[in-house]
């Protein structure tokens, strides 16, 4: 098992290297650069732009810029944000990572705890009314854009329910009276009030895919010969489903679960913007808009690393669940 882990860990190093090169290339393919926002400003003259370009290193050829950045990456220095002049990690995560985790983890749990049983139920009640209802819900969740669902929900709260008359706020992570205040019971309640809409919206989108995934996987499995054999042996349907079929679909579940873990540190971008949540992905969105390439490249490295760690955890999970993987 240790050899397996070491091997998987070592695989990550060249992968990160390739991703570093690709992320730099990706930024280079983007038209323009950070200074474009000033190039068409009549009050900014050419001399100033040239000085800014020199200060930010944007006047250097690509290979030099890449080498400078890559050398920094190897030393663990991802540079500074062009916009805020803060270190990249600080620019992305400071003041955001805690809130992001407080939203992504409950959303993840909400999605999995509700959806997997529903998917199993749907698969064992194929083409019955309940299956059609769940399938309809899944298609709704998949087809409605997150931002639109979020706006609808907020509109419903504000204009129809008029929650403002009850002193309740919408959007944001806590009520405005608690911003910057230490944690208290009231602040926690306010957090819960503000957290449920994004959890619902993000969770619904995630649930839709997962529900279809679980249902399809289980239906396929229930059609396998060994399931038929189990039934022929006279086992109860409950034993067939939960002891035989479910155990055999664990591997893709673990993979899917571990990929979700990698996304913990980002949070859903569009929903974060609509719900005005201080998540890491919102910082990344800001960097994207400003073409703050230092933050963008650093972000890709960070997010990929988390994703790879999630995958590694998934591999470990699969190795534990399935001895054949360890042996091979």
């Amino acid at each position: 098992m240790i050899g397996f882990l070491v091997r998987r860990f070592l695989y990550m190093i060249p992968l990160l290297l390739v991703i570093a090169i690709l992320s730099f290339a990706l930024m280079e393919f983007m038209p323009g650069d950070f200074l474009d926002q000033f190039r068409f400003d009549p009050s900014v003259d050419l001399v100033r732009l040239e000085r800014e370009a020199a200060r930010l290193g944007l006047d250097q050829p690509r290979h030099i810029r890449f080498w400078r950045w890559f050398r920094g990456v190897l030393r663990g220095d991802l540079g500074e944000s062009f916009v805020t002049q803060q270190p990249v990690a600080r620019s992305l995560f400071a003041g955001r990572i805690g809130w992001t985790l407080m939203l992504t983890i409950p959303t993840f749990i909400f999605t999995w705890v509700i959806t997997v049983p529903l998917g199993l139920y749907s698969s064992t009640h194929q083409y019955k009314l309940s299956d059609h209802v769940l399938t309809g819900f899944a298609f709704f969740g998949m087809s409605i854009p997150n931002f639109f669902f979020a706006l609808l929900l907020l509109y419903f709260l504000v204009v129809v329910l008029q929650v403002g008359d009850m002193g309740l706020g919408v959007s944001g992570i806590v009520g405005q009276e608690f911003i910057g205040q230490p944690w208290s019971w009231d602040k926690f309640v306010s957090f819960l009030w503000h957290a449920w809409p994004p959890i619902l919206v993000i969770g619904t989108a995630g649930m839709a895919g997962l529900l279809r995934f679980t249902r399809g996987l289980m239906i396929d499995t229930l059609g396998e010969m060994y399931v038929m054999t189990a039934r022929a042996k006279g086992l109860t349907e409950r034993t067939v489903v939960y002891k035989h079929a479910l155990r055999n679909i664990l591997n893709p579940f673990i993979t899917s679960f571990s990929m979700g873990i990698g996304g913990f540190v980002q949070g859903a971008m569009i929903s974060a913007i609509v719900f005005n949540l201080p998540t890491v992905s919102r910082a990344y969105w800001g960097a994207l808009q400003a073409q703050d390439t230092q933050v963008l490249m650093g972000g890709i490295i960070f997010f990929t690393s988390f994703f790879l760690v999630g995958n590694l955890l998934g591999d470990i999970g699969i190795a534990i669940a399935d001895p054949r993987i360890r042996v091979n």
Binding site: M30, P31, G32, D33, D36, Q37, F38, R39, F40, D41, P42, S43, V44, D45, L46, V47, R48, R51, E52, R55, V83, T84, Q85, Q86, R90, A94, G95, R96, L151, L154, Y155, L157, V158, V159, V163, G164, D165, G169, V170, S171, G172, I173, Q176, I179, G180, I273, V274, F275, N276, L277, P278, T279, R282, A283, G286, Q291
Partner: protein, 603 residues
């Protein structure tokens, strides 16, 4: 008679207040009839006002500000010596008590208000002014935009401190805009910032730290300002909280120290739709409305207790179509774009009514001048030269040029048989510009001109414009109060003379491509007028130059302007003086720092 008595009583109160205060405080005659402030009310102290802005500030260092959000906040926390009142167009003293421009125009003597204090209680003196001007703005280590201060002869101004409350700025040549740039710069506290300046602090061993000082993670306790508010905290993506400067140096006519509010909170709300919902929900007190919001705002306002006003004041920017008169590798198009009759034909094809009604729901104003409508240099619509929407006239102009549809395919041809077609670009995602492009393309198609619209990323657009690679563009420019700000665009050597870079020749932006200057004839007079406009302090004389320039530029149509949206704002009735400005920077009135005068009625 009653009015005169009221004015007299108010003024008496003002003088009495000032006498009691015995300082050089500024008294703002809020609510005094016959003044600029007559529509304001005298407020009461206390409470908080809440609004929103769409992005985080990038810095709290006024010299390093390059974005709107940071600029708005700095304007609340710092003050300048002299500013041009956008309502009257006149330079007014702020931190200065008075100023005199020498007869030869080569120096300005500024007398500071006495007895003022920074927000932390330290005295404000000429040392702070000299620190800001000499140790920061003239300091090569500081990334200040010194080019704004550079005189036509390449020199920078010099400064002299006469005493603790008198400073003099010397110029080597008359350069009118420098007065605004130099005396309009926000003054920073020496006692808080000297330690970041290498030449003043040997401990830095030559490494200047000023450029990163007062960044977004600054400790508010380390800051000080002369503005109405000071920073209490900034929480990324959530809010900025400003609190009253206890030493602010402005008072109302009743002797109350301004601002009235204890705090001003600005929420960071990236989505304007969500900002609207927050306003409707009562979470924020003011909101910078958009035309598409008016229906719900007008319907909900009486029910929820807020009011929405639509000003006849527009923003500072311009929006226009332009043709690249240097378009590469296509002599037909280059010749066409340089032909005034073609540009007139296009101007007659711009359906401003459809743009105003269809895009702005009626809340925009046609724009004809290159000078921003709110600028005191703007001539006014009574002098406008309009190119009315008239496709017949446009078609006859194209006929006059010799462009006819010879093959009957609906598109006119050049004499060599090639079709009259060009690519019109704008930045993708800017839906208003995209719609304007589509409206124009549709109208030009009706008179036989084929327009291919292409919406591309902003970076690519800027690259094409500044590299003179495009054919036609729909874009906008930010504007300012001083008409001289357009020099980079309209002077033949301007770095943004993107519609004809060849005009600049070796002094232009692309000397390697255009080593020999090839300007349009009329541009020489515009160049001359720009030089004349900065060489005098005589307001009447200056206005004459800029008015002539507006006519010349309009007649020759290097850019075909469209419309400028009207400014709108909503505020709850619980906020007094609230509709004069929202946190989004909407100026519905004087454009001065009205949040300084806002107050809560519900205390």
């Amino acid at each position: 008679m009653k009015k005169i008595a009221l004015i007299a009583a108010s003024l008496l109160l003002v003088f009495a207040s000032v006498a009691v205060l015995a300082q050089d405080y500024k008294v703002v005659p809020l609510g005094v009839p016959g003044t600029l402030w007559e529509d304001f009310e005298v407020g009461v102290h206390g409470g908080t006002i809440r609004s929103s802005m769409i992005s985080n500030p990038r810095t709290f260092n006024p010299i390093m500000v390059r974005d709107t959000a940071s600029g708005w906040l700095d304007d609340r926390m710092q003050e300048a010596l002299i500013l041009r009142n956008p309502h009257t167009g006149v330079h007014e003293p702020y931190l200065a008590k008075a100023f005199e421009i020498a007869e030869d125009g080569l120096s300005i003597t500024v007398h500071l208000r006495r007895g003022l204090k920074w927000s932390d209680g330290e005295p404000f003196t000429a040392a702070d002014v000299m620190f800001t001007w000499v140790d920061l703005w003239l300091n090569e280590d500081v990334e200040a935009r010194r080019e704004l201060w550079t005189l036509p002869d390449g020199m920078l101004p010099t400064f002299e401190q006469i005493d603790d409350y008198t400073v003099v700025v010397h110029f080597t040549t008359i350069f009118r805009p420098a007065v605004g740039f130099v005396t309009g710069a926000q003054i920073l506290p020496r006692h808080r910032l000297w330690e970041y300046v290498a030449k003043l602090n040997p401990a830095l061993e030559g490494v200047c730290q000023f450029n990163t000082a007062w960044g977004i993670d600054v400790d508010p306790a380390a800051m000080a300002g002369m503005g109405a508010f000071i920073l209490e905290h900034f929480i990324t993506d959530m809010e900025i909280r400003l609190v009253r400067n206890p030493h602010f140096w402005q008072f109302d006519a009743a002797g109350n120290r301004l601002p009235y509010l204890d705090a001003a909170v600005v929420h960071i709300v990236e989505s304007i739709d969500v900002s609207l919902l927050r306003f409707l929900n009562g979470e924020i007190d003011t909101y910078g409305a958009r035309p598409e919001d008016l229906a719900i705002l007008k319907a909900e306002g009486p029910l929820r207790g807020f009011e929405t006003v639509i000003s006849d004041v527009t923003g500072w920017g311009t929006a226009f179509f332009a043709f690249n008169q240097d378009v590469p590798e296509d002599e037909n198009l280059r010749g066409l774009f340089r032909d005034l009759r073609f540009r007139q034909a296009v101007a007659h094809s711009i359906d401003l009514d459809t743009i105003i009604e269809g895009i702005y729901m009626g809340f925009a104003r046609p724009q004809w001048s290159h000078v921003a409508i709110p600028s005191p240099f703007f001539m006014g619509d009574e002098h406008a030269i309009w190119f009315e929407y008239d496709l017949d006239k446009a078609a006859s102009l194209l006929d006059e040029i010799g462009l006819f549809d010879t093959d009957g395919d609906g598109v006119r041809e050049f004499p060599d048989g090639s079709p009259v077609t060009f690519v019109l670009i704008t930045n993708a995602g800017h839906t208003i510009r995209e719609q304007k492009c589509l409206i124009l393309a549709d109208d030009l198609a009706r008179i036989g001109v084929d327009v291919v619209t292409s919406f591309i990323p902003f970076g690519a657009l800027v690259g094409q414009l500044l590299g003179a690679e495009y054919q036609a563009v729909m874009i906008g420019l930010t504007g300012g109060m001083d008409a001289h700000g357009g020099r980079t665009v309209y002077h033949s050597t301007g770095s943004l003379h993107f519609w004809r870079f060849s005009a600049g020749g070796p002094d232009g932006r692309l000397p390697e491509r255009f080593p020999v200057a090839d300007p349009a004839e009329w541009n020489a007079r515009v160049d001359e007028l720009y030089d004349l406009g900065v060489g005098s302090f005589d307001e009447a004389e200056i206005m004459h130059y800029y008015h002539e320039m507006q006519i010349i530029i309009r007649e020759n149509l290097p850019l075909m302007f469209t419309v400028s949206p009207l400014q709108m704002a909503s505020a709850y009735d619980r906020i007094g003086n609230g509709l004069w400005e929202t946190f989004e920077g909407i100026h519905t009135g004087t454009g001065l720092t009205a949040v300084t005068f806002a107050f809560r009625r519900d205390l």
